[in-house]
């Protein structure tokens, strides 16, 4: 057993260097836009300079964001759909997944298959558009929450987690006379907090990043969520004539992008904590 053999040690060094390069390549784009957001506009648009460390720092770009009514309303819209979408999503998904994880329930296999099938075949964007239109949800924020409330993938993840719980848990509760309902709320749910947290965060991130459905369904500027406004800002030539606004400098563009990333960075440690603890390990094993 030659863990300290020369080849192995060289490999370790190279491997470490490789991951340092990989880590840098993942982060320098972020550092780039952070730098651009902190520089005054004249410096931010300078060519011939590498923008990784700001040559002058000003928070003016961020002040502009908060002054801009369109951006702040976009933020609020995104918060609204994220919170409702995540909570609603995890509740519906968890309930369905728990039911599907119990093999003794008649119809279980069929329903599982029907859920899985939606991953492989669906109507497409036009039929979905027609449905949303018929439901009268066009230009309503609810069109960004309800039609995309659940995903089959998350159902499968939660189902795998529930399946992986020791059957003795539920069985001993039943033996003691607990009903299915009591078992679910008092025994299974408390112990399933890790997967509930993980899936909530998955849905939350998805809703926060929601872009295309908003492009399709939302027409009023003040109902547009953050990613849509962000996109409009990023592609504007700086002297905007549309309903957005006047003279968006490069630094303000980048500041908006940074502001859109910050909430994700905030929940990120929590995400990490839960899924590196082996949540998905359970899903894979089970």
């Amino acid at each position: 057993m030659n863990h300290t053999s020369l080849t192995y040690r060289i490999f370790n060094v190279i491997n470490a260097m490789f991951f340092i390069v990989v880590a840098i390549s993942m982060t320098f784009p972020m550092i780039n836009i952070l730098c651009l957001s902190l520089e005054p506009n004249q410096i931010a648009i300078e060519t011939g300079v590498i923008h990784l460390i700001p040559r002058a720092i000003t928070l003016k770009a961020y002040a502009e964001i908060f002054k801009n009514g369109l951006i702040t309303s976009a933020f609020m819209n995104s918060v609204f759909i994220t919170v409702l979408g995540a909570v609603g999503g995890v509740v519906f998904t968890g309930m369905l997944a728990y039911g599907l994880s119990n093999e003794k329930v008649p119809g279980n296999k069929i329903i599982s298959y029907l859920v899985l099938f939606t991953m492989m075949f669906n109507g497409g964007i036009i039929p979905s558009y027609m449905l949303v239109r018929n439901l009268g949800l066009i230009n309503s924020l609810w069109s960004l929450i309800v039609p995309t409330l659940m995903t089959a993938y998350n159902v499968i993840l939660m189902k795998a987690f529930f399946k992986n719980l020791p059957p003795s848990l539920a069985e001993s509760a039943m033996v003691d006379g607990a009903s299915e309902a009591t078992t679910f709320f008092k025994i299974i749910l408390p112990i399933s907090m890790p997967i509930v947290a993980t899936i909530t965060l998955f849905y939350a991130v998805a809703k926060w990043n929601e872009f295309f459905t908003a492009v399709m369904y939302i027409t009023s500027a003040n109902k547009k969520p953050l990613q849509v406004i962000l996109r409009e800002i990023l592609i504007s030539a700086g002297n905007s004539d549309s309903a957005t606004n006047l003279d968006i400098g490069m630094n303000v563009k980048m500041a908006t992008a940074v502001a859109a990333i910050v909430p994700i960075l905030c929940v990120y440690p929590f995400l990490q904590k839960y899924f590196t603890k082996g949540i998905l390990l359970g899903a894979v094993k089970g």
């Binding site: 329930v105 669906n122 499968i156 094993k285």
Partner: protein, 319 residues
């Protein structure tokens, strides 16, 4: 992945004894479970299965004034016209090429990263590296596309500045038909391969330690252990990931939509962006739905046939 792999079992074990009476008893017993599942089932019925009703428009000549039910039936004519349309055929080709590139270059990356990550001894370093490589997956394409387009810009973009530093000419990556597909593939891999390692790392962590110990006794070095134990143990996971990815293989929308422009549209217009262009932007519903239906049938056929092949080779199926 046992939960996702269906081993052949006795399908009738639920209905074994006493027939209908036992069935009704079961329904009553699990009343709570059924109530619990109801909302989720309703959701899938309304938002995933009901829209399939609209697919019939693919076989009609949709007229906004006559509405859905009164538009004339044209059978497969829409599909025939589709293949005669230059833009559709082009979009189809682009989708195939881009998907192919994404998979050939992108599929092995998470596997290799996972294997290499697994070799890192220092837990702190490993966790930090993981944290950093997962991050791009959680950002939207608006952001990722925006950041990369900015960095690849010929005026002051970071990448071009670095090129100038080593003496090369700046390249207008995003407006060059030759390089744009590579831009798409590269940014796609940059964004998604980190996250792709999660499943593989979890699978690796689940491999029986005894296997490694036995290999060490037999004199295998670290490298041989990876080839003969880790990789083979990963094959079930790899297969599941691969089959599931086939379902999405023709879905290339948000990234392209956010990053492309009229100059490179010829090499990057995908099926979905084409559907958007003609369906939402131009209102040619029949065509748009026909394209969507076509795409879905192909994906479904791919998944089912690959599933069958896997079943024959490995003895179990994913779907």
């Amino acid at each position: 992945m046992d939960a996702m792999i269906n081993k052949p079992t006795d399908k009738f074990q639920v209905y074994n004894s006493k027939g209908i009476r036992s069935l009704i008893k079961n329904f009553q017993r699990y009343k709570f479970i059924y109530m619990l599942m109801m909302p989720g089932i309703l959701y899938f019925l309304v938002f995933n299965y009901y829209p399939l009703y609209f697919l019939q428009v693919a076989f009609k000549q949709y007229n906004v004034f006559s509405g859905l039910d009164n538009s004339p039936w044209v059978g497969f004519q829409n599909f025939v016209d589709l293949f005669k349309t230059k833009y559709f055929v082009n979009a189809l080709w682009n989708t195939i090429v881009l998907s192919f590139m994404n998979n050939v270059f992108g599929f092995p990356v998470p596997i290799i990263l996972a294997l290499l990550l697994n070799e890192i001894r220092n837990q702190h370093f490993k966790k930090t590296a993981q944290t950093l490589i997962y991050l791009p997956h959680f950002l939207s394409w608006v952001i990722v596309g925006g950041i990369w387009l900015n960095m690849l810009s010929p005026q002051g973009g970071l990448i071009n500045e670095l090129l100038k530093l080593i003496g090369l000419q700046p390249i207008y990556f995003a407006a060059d038909k030759g390089s744009f597909r590579w831009v798409l593939v590269f940014t796609h891999i940059w964004k998604e391969s980190g996250w792709g390692t999660v499943l593989y790392l979890a699978a690796i962590a689940g491999i029986d330690i005894d296997l490694y110990e036995a290999a060490v006794i037999d004199g295998a070095n670290r490298f041989k252990q990876v080839i003969y134990i880790t990789l083979p143990s990963l094959i079930p996971t790899i297969i599941v990931v691969f089959v599931l990815s086939l379902a999405k293989i023709l879905n290339l929308f948000e990234q392209v939509f956010v990053m492309y422009n009229p100059i490179v549209a010829e090499v990057s217009e995908t099926i979905d962006t084409y559907v958007y262009q003609i369906g939402i932007a131009k209102g040619e519903m029949s065509f748009a739905i026909a394209v969507g239906l076509f795409k879905n049938i192909i994906s479904l056929a791919l998944v089912l046939s690959t599933n069958k092949i896997v079943k024959k080779i490995q003895g179990y199926s994913i779907v």
